[in-house]
């Protein structure tokens, strides 16, 4: 027990990991855990309130909300994790290059990033998905495009200060190539802010995916996806039918919260100099991208 770092024993860490574990369970064992098919409509069981047979009730087509919430974990996390992973894999080397080489290309790339990030992120995402076609993979590609500048910027900012440090000069004097300096010496030292950002970005990607689906610019029915499910219950909400939208929305809240908490945990773990008070910045606004939308 004493071997476990303090930052992993905080309440935030425990809740974060518990939620992550729960989501992994839901993804792996969705067919075992869900009592009904997530896509099978049953017109006779339309809009039934929560009961022993349907824990979260049924939606207007009679699909079981509980089963759909479980299955949606797969789609939502798949899109979010894949898009952030792609953004990380492209953004990190790109950030290294534009931080290490000062030149016209680097400043052009930075201006391009400024420009992408000047658009309201949700509006840009909506337009891109609308133009590319409303497919699951297009949503992931669009999110990857939106998040790449975030990682590249974070790495670049670190590299800019690191590249003047003596250890880089020493490496250069001992004959190390630019590539070796970048990937052998600078990369690991510059990675911390980007690592923290990975977890936070996954949470933001979940919110964006759900928002895009909600307005009809994401995945389509009957795919079980949280935003789409909230949207399918939106009409009945006014009539007092709360269960169709409530439960998928709660799923979004807990999922995003999980990755926000884990972002804090990663920061504490990798950077023990940070004090407790300075931690609560996980969902702070990062210039140009920031909050969920």
């Amino acid at each position: 027990m004493s071997r476990i770092p303090h930052s992993l024993r905080s309440p935030a860490a425990v809740i974060g990991f518990a939620l992550l574990f729960l989501q992994i369970l839901l993804i792996l064992f969705a067919p075992l855990l869900s009592p009904y098919s997530p896509v099978e409509a049953d017109a006779l069981a339309s809009l039934q309130p929560p009961s022993a047979a349907h824990w979260f009730g049924t939606d207007i087509t009679g699909m079981d909300v509980f089963s759909r919430v479980i299955y949606a974990t797969r789609i939502n996390l798949l899109i979010s994790v894949v898009s952030v992973a792609v953004a990380f894999l492209i953004g990190v080397p790109l950030g290294l290059f534009i931080g290490y080489y000062k030149g016209i290309v680097s400043s052009l790339v930075m201006r391009l990033f400024d420009f992408i990030q000047a658009f309201p992120i949700f509006v840009l995402g909506m337009a891109l998905v609308a133009v590319m076609g409303q497919e699951i993979w297009n949503v992931a590609i669009v999110l990857a495009i939106l998040f790449t500048p975030v990682f590249a910027r974070l790495i670049r900012a670190e590299v800019l200060s690191l590249r003047e440090r003596p250890f880089v000069a020493a490496a250069r004097c001992s004959g190390a190539s630019d590539l070796h300096i970048m990937f052998g010496h600078l990369l690991l030292n510059a990675l911390l802010p980007a690592m923290v950002q990975v977890s936070i970005s996954i949470g933001m990607a979940i919110l964006l995916t759900a928002g895009l689906s909600f307005i009809g610019a994401g995945v389509r029915m009957p795919v079980p996806e949280w935003g789409l499910m909230v949207s399918s219950g939106a009409q009945q909400m006014i009539l007092g039918v709360w269960w169709v939208s409530l439960f998928p929305g709660l799923a979004i809240v807990f999922s995003v919260l999980c990755f926000a908490l884990l972002g804090d945990v990663i920061r504490d773990l990798l950077d023990p100099t940070k004090t407790r008070r300075a931690v609560s910045t996980s969902t702070d606004i990062i210039p140009g991208i920031g909050g969920p939308l």
Binding site: P120, A127, V131, A210, I215, V230, A234, S282, D284
Partner: protein, 348 residues
Amino acid sequence: MLTGLRRFQQMLPRSLQIILPRLLLLAPQMFGVLFVTFFLIRLLPGDPAVLLLGNMATPEAVAQLRERLGLNDSIWVQFIAYCRNVLHGDLGISIFTSHPVLTDLMERAPATLELIFYAMILTVAIGLLLAVVSVVRPGGFTDVATRIYGLAAGAIPDFWIGLILIFVFFSKLGWAAAPFGRIDAMLSEPPYVTGFYTIDALVAGDFGVLHSAAGRLLLPVITLAVVNAGALMKMTQSVFGKVWASPFVRHARASGVPERVIIRAALRNSLPPIITIVGFLVGFLLGAAVLVETIFSWGGLGQYAVQAVMNSDYPALQGFILVAAAFILVVYLIVDILYELVDPRIRV
């Protein structure tokens, strides 16, 4: 030449020294926006004329539009033509409403601006108030509550909280107005002055309309504020917290300055970063308005954009993105200028 420019700049008053270079920067940025909106449509696979007219278009109509759009010319000639059209206020014809896109956008802009305006005021009020109280009284109830709220606010989808508010305050309790548009369907719009129904009703002295418009604004404004105030609150907490711990605050307290005056002075010193965040907030609110307007049938720009997406109405979508980006650029410009104006320590 450059030194001459610099000398000329230094002769101007400080405020103009700040504003002029920023204005010059706006031109290339707007050019970039035009570039993106143009290629967004042109990069699509398929014939833009078919996309613009829809699949039902006759071959003659497609050929005619290709001619009119100059699609047979080179891409750069087309781009120049597009820029010229936009500069003349021609954003094309919406496929769905069959009105000029600019007219559509102008009609709907006041609805969105009114929504964002009030949401902004409430967001700033909640964010600053919670931040100041939690910093001034650490360990108190507000401090704990704000920590939970700060964590949760970033995780709540705005479209979902909007629906929950409708369910609780309209369907169950019956306190709030129906989520169908900006005023009661039985009332007629106030005569146009600013386009803001609340202000126009006030000007016309029509308190029935004012009551209805304010009631309709309540839920969407709360929705936007609840979701966005968290980020502003956390930012203010960290900035204001640092100022609150600084020696000048301690000195003021030791000298017997009343707490209220100290808070005001400390807040004044935390202002520059807060202004930046408030500027970004306008961008977020515009994005969030797309979702919230849809829920409340608001009939503003956001709902227009969603309809454009649903109906593959590309000219409308193109127009919306152009106007939204231009709006955001202008807001960022104002933020940059304010940022430097409120902090005399920043050198031009």
